[in-house]
Assembly symmetry: C2
Homo-oligomer: 240 residues x 2
């Protein structure tokens, strides 16, 4: 059955190269066993001094989860509404039904309109130590492990930050203390679409040898790699 | 030969659970091809709005690399020296040659004393946008991909932050502009030790269901899982 299929033989390198952001989900739940494996895998990631200051609040269909998903749904719709306007999704090629921009806009609208139906939403938290980017070193590797483990089991998700608009209410609702940052909100479910190779800029634009801006001649994209073809706004919210 | 062995069949889930922090390296270089795969895999990770604000400066044996490794070596030795004193590595069980604390101290001392001989050191950078933890969401997933890809190819490394002590000099030397944060320094090489299951706290201490501090009954560590057994200081710098 589609609801339980997954490919245990997926290799590590292939998994890294083919885990897309997934924003449309079927109604299939995530089983307890799979959810356990996903969270276990997340917690195998490194943290600063192995302090393990990360915590994961898993919202499914409990009393808090239902209210938290509704709160987040409002925030996501507001966030996308603002982005849609400021990034010009309804201008230029966005007015053409078949343009990548219009398709992206439809996918994002669907994502936020159906947020409350997301099978699982994970709030990834981390103890605040420095208050800067380096606190992220103790939680975002775990988030990446979480997304990769979900992909290994036939699920998918996406790391988002739109909870910030309702962070105070979300903390009140879930009890997340002020000493922990909410580093990301990660909806998870069975993809309506599918995973596959992601698109990025050519690797030589992202990797330097010996010093900044010095081309890494040894860095090559594998044959057949497809690239992000336009500016940042166009590729913003595609499954990527 | 040991220098080229790796296991292409390593599964995604197994890779996530068995990628250790590796701090002791053989003299084997990392081949151009493997380095390309490692960096390519890093850049497959997600970034905020797929903006791809991450950049990787790869230090091998070029003119800048040699000086940067020397500068970083000083910083790492100073960093470890401070940590060794403040975290009491030479007190209590640290005075017993066979204690975990003493072994950790020896491993860390070896790591910093041999820093300049590390085959490859990667500086992971990211465009500064918010100046807070969320900037890390666009670079630490890539760092985790990098470490996982290295593991897939028979290498290993560790995400560190001791470059911060010499950040100004490091920027001057490498040309990293002020508009980019140096999010992490990642030494890489062929492990003298080996990868394997990592130790963490029981998953139920890290994962909550529905609300903070609410036990996730469905979250279980696989049979045979070994745990971090002591406070944060003891497990600080083991391969973990």
């Amino acid at each position: 059955m589609a609801s339980t299929e997954h490919d245990n033989s997926l290799g590590l390198l292939e998994g890294l190269a083919t885990t897309r952001a997934i924003r449309r989900y079927t109604d299939d739940p995530i089983t307890d066993e799979d959810l356990s494996t996903i969270l276990y895998s997340a917690t195998r990631a490194p943290t600063g001094s192995n302090r393990q200051g990360f915590r994961f609040v898993v919202l499914r269909d409990g009393p808090v989860a239902t209210r938290a998903k509704a709160l987040l749904g409002e925030a996501f719709r507001a966030g996308w509404g603002t982005k849609r306007a400021t990034d010009g999704y309804d201008a230029g090629t966005g007015t053409l039904d078949d343009s990548p921009k219009a398709r992206t806009a439809r996918a994002m609208q669907h994502f936020v309109d159906h947020f409350e139906a997301t099978p699982v939403v994970v709030l990834a938290c981390v103890e605040v130590r420095h208050g800067g980017i380096q606190d992220g070193a103790s939680v975002y590797p775990a988030v990446q492990n979480l997304l990769l483990a979900a992909r290994a089991l036939g699920y998918g998700g996406v790391l988002t930050g739109w909870h910030r608009m309702v962070e105070d209410e979300l903390r009140q609702l879930t009890g997340i203390p002020e000493t922990f940052a909410i580093a990301g909100t990660i909806p998870l479910g069975r993809p309506q679409g599918h995973h596959g190779p992601v698109r990025r800029r050519p690797v030589r634009e992202l990797v330097f040898d010996d010093r900044w801006d010095n081309s890494a001649d040894w860095a090559v994209d594998p044959v057949g790699t497809r690239f992000t073809s336009a500016g940042p706004k166009r590729s913003t919210t595609e499954d990527a």
